[in-house]
Symmetry: C2
Subunit: 207 residues, 2 copies
């Protein structure tokens, strides 16, 4: 079965309500990437989106190691990925490793919001990517110790996710049947009643 | 000096490049809120935006305690705020406290991405709010232990930020001169060269 990027996007569209930003309803985590580079101008846009995120004390604790396919940065990030992610991520033209300073730059004290703020910046990055017609996929499955060692990341930085970035590819090019199925399966989420709460364990009525 | 919401938004607009999503360039952290309620329909949209965020194993670890002004939930969240935040946040019509499950629901193992994923969901929430003409402000400054105790939040949940949500108010209504100044000061961020890296300490050239 051959599916166009438009058909796949339709399958992956969030079943949500009117008024939700199209870029939020349309973002999903692709695994099939086309053999097409991401321009430096578009990369600048996705990192500008991250740049303007909010952070505790405006510390902007996020750092992103960015590798384009063929570069040593890319090879190092790829080498840390778990087996399941290796089966597809090596086609993506860009791999990004996020990290966050665990201490505030203004006074050196611990920043309990480092990972929270990194996650926020990464979310803006992936939404901006989606607005540019790019696909992304954030991965928790990689060897943190190896990544730290390969890039000599200081101990006072937390590691975030590895993000694959590129253009939608043809799902049938994926090497594993189960990955092809995942690429076209509708996205699912818990209902609001499970996480929008008035008290712990009691839902808010938004009816 | 009286400023309209449009004039304030102009002052707060990110100095960024063309192609960055308007909702990303335009979101900022307000402290002056109007005496105007947020409709349940708009609240549903902001939480739908959070709902469709990505998360490790699609665990969706985020939980949001949501209080509307006058409610006991609101009073409890407000009571945990630090002094600086108390000076302005009590005018916001909605206060939200984020939390994240520290363990995966599918197997009970530790989720190192709980706060990262909560931060991502909260970012989507604030961007959606901005798209609806709402303002938000995320606060790290609150008493975590008190919040845990007041809502009986289990130990295996991390706490995220408290988010104030509402419509832009008149900055001159803020009680402190320094808050009025903050409300109209342009936003600043580090340049990309400080956080978009090829190697640790070496910037990527994005031309």
């Amino acid at each position: 079965m051959t599916l166009s990027a438009i058909e796949i996007d339709h399958l992956k569209q969030a079943h949500t309500i009117e008024g939700v930003l199209p870029v939020i309803a349309g973002r999903w985590s692709a695994r099939s990437f086309a053999d097409r580079e991401v321009s430096p101008a578009d990369l600048a846009k996705v990192f500008e989106a991250a740049r303007w995120s909010a952070s505790a004390y405006n510390d902007q604790p996020w750092r992103f190691l960015v590798g384009r396919r063929g570069s040593s940065t890319y090879k190092k990030i790829f080498s840390t990925l778990g087996g399941f992610n290796r089966d597809w991520a090596g086609v993506a033209p860009v791999l990004i490793l996020g990290a966050a300073s665990a201490t505030f730059s203004h006074n050196g004290s611990a920043n309990a919001y480092a990972l929270y703020d990194l996650g926020a910046a990464a979310a803006a990055l992936t939404l901006q990517a989606s607005a540019l017609g790019l696909r992304s996929h954030s991965m928790a499955g990689f060897d943190h110790a190896a990544a730290r060692q390969l890039f000599q990341i200081p101990d006072d930085y937390h590691l975030g996710a590895v993000i694959a970035l590129g253009y939608q590819g043809e799902p049938s090019a994926l090497v594993q049947e189960n990955l092809i199925a995942l690429e076209t399966t509708p996205r699912t989420r818990k209902p609001l009643s499970e996480f929008v709460l008035e008290e712990w364990g009691t839902s808010v009525d938004l009816g």
